[in-house]
């Protein structure tokens, strides 16, 4: 089975052809946004990172920002720096050029340009040319085995585990059967369900990793000396009927389908295996999306019971409602409805195929609602304090 995508010179498959404007540091957010707003079709991100970070925390931020530049959904990149920050824009440009020598990457340093107005003008001048060049790229048939799907559930309710997550699990199984990769993430929301996923691990080592990442995550909560409940499940989850993290997790794990677990990888690290892969991310939706996209996923499918609008700046983020009332209420934001499973009008398998078909159409160019509405959510998981 094929979709229509962009074949990059290094052989990777993209499903979008973005010109990305990305700041290396929080201080460059305004200029990055200004550049993207001055031209038609560029995407930009804003974030809180890039200065007064050290060690592994700094390295992770640099990796995530660079990995958005090297991503196959991105055609070319403008990296914006202030000039005095810890995470140097020059290093981000070098990372991207090293991994993707064919990619057009442009550096704008605000202090060197003589301020934000001149830096914005310089960036816009280059972005215009990049967009013109991007428009000359054409899509070609690419096998669906080259897709990496990131799965996510956020704003869960008690229907998440009954309808949308089992249906997304079917979609995951279909993609894996076709040779593709699927990311299961949000470690916090697997607490209480780790034995189910570990039982599907391809080796004792992978199974052991499942319990290790859960133990680390749970220890973070217990070290704070509080009941995690209220933070996880969130107040909205509890209002929606979820009573404990175990109940939330047992509903969440359905979206991983039924295939063997091939690997457990760290936050934002590249997905190298075909089949089901667990990425160790926090449950915070935007940090999770950002980590999965940095890991190479080209498309995200996001189930929600309470309703959410968010989307990656560079990877289409398809929303699936767990119940039809939500689908009607937030129809501007939610792409698909799994509510017919709850009422008995459709089976899990039927809705799973329906989501799969939409995923292929979206991979081939159909815009999802978060893209049309311009969502560009981006947040890098922090593993150390600002100093």
């Amino acid at each position: 089975m094929k979709f229509m995508g962009y074949r990059r010179p290094d052989g990777k498959a993209g499903i979008r052809n973005h010109v990305l404007v990305i700041p290396a540091v929080i201080c460059a957010n305004r200029v990055a946004r200004g550049i993207a707003e001055m031209v038609k079709g560029a995407v930009y991100v804003e974030h809180q990172n890039g200065c007064t970070q050290i060690g592994a925390d700094l390295e992770l931020s640099r990796h995530v920002i660079s990995a958005h530049g090297t991503h196959p959904n991105v055609f070319s990149v403008i990296v914006v720096g202030l000039g005095c920050e810890t995470l140097r824009a020059q290093d981000v440009v070098a990372d991207i050029k090293k991994a993707c020598p064919y990619k057009h990457v442009h550096l704008v340093i605000i202090q060197d340009e003589g301020g934000s107005v001149k830096a914005t003008a310089e960036g816009a001048r280059v972005a215009r040319a990049m967009l013109a060049e991007a428009s000359r790229q054409t899509r070609e048939p690419i096998d669906v085995s080259e897709l990496i799907l990131g799965t996510e559930c956020g704003g869960s309710d008690a229907c998440s585990g009954i309808s949308a997550n089992p249906a997304l699990g079917k979609t995951s199984d279909l993609l894996i059967e076709a040779g593709g990769s699927v990311i299961l993430a949000e470690t916090t929301e697997l607490i209480g369900a780790e034995h189910i996923i570990a039982a599907r691990a391809v080796s004792p080592a992978v199974a052991r990793r499942c319990f290790e990442v859960i133990a680390r995550c749970e220890k973070q909560a217990t070290d704070m000396g509080v009941d995690m409940r209220g933070g996880q499940p969130t107040p909205g989850n509890i209002e929606g009927g979820l009573s404990s993290i175990e109940e939330k997790s047992l509903g969440c794990v359905y979206k991983a389908g039924t295939k063997p677990l091939q690997d457990v990888i760290d936050y934002a690290m590249p997905v190298t295996k075909k089949g089901l892969v667990w990425m160790d991310t926090p449950g915070q939706d935007i940090e999770q999306i950002t980590g999965m996209v940095a890991g190479g996923c080209q498309i995200v499918i996001f189930t929600t019971g309470r309703g959410t609008c968010c989307g990656s700046p560079i990877a289409p983020t398809i929303k699936v409602a767990t119940n039809s009332a939500l689908f009607a209420r937030m129809n501007d934001n939610i792409d698909l409805d799994a509510g017919a499973i709850v009422t008995g009008e459709a089976t899990v398998a039927e809705v799973g195929h329906f989501i799969f078909d939409d995923m292929i159409e979206t991979a081939s160019g159909k815009l999802c609602k978060a893209e049309v509405l311009g969502f560009n959510d981006f947040a890098i998981h922090r593993i150390g304090p600002s100093l």
């Binding site: 009954i162 209480g192 909560a221 995690m228 009573s243």
Partner: protein, 96 residues
Amino acid sequence: MATAKAVVMNPADNTATAVEAIGPDVDVSMSIGGKPVTVHVVDPISFGHKFAVRDIRKGDKIVKYGETIGLATQDIQAGRHVHVHNLESGRGRGDK
């Protein structure tokens, strides 16, 4: 499949999940492992919330999806609302 007001995900479950607002004081029929079962729902149950399908004793496991989702902090009669007021999570408990 006929439209039901509540679903039981696994025959081992002692809770059902309401898929529309229920009660109070109504009989609700549902299928548990293919067998029709009727529970008199005592409390008002909001969409997405749970009620006990059989009596649960204090300290018993509360089961959904065939798995433990917490422990009962008090006796819960069949048909009563099961939620954070009578279910205690066993995980992420730094307060214990």
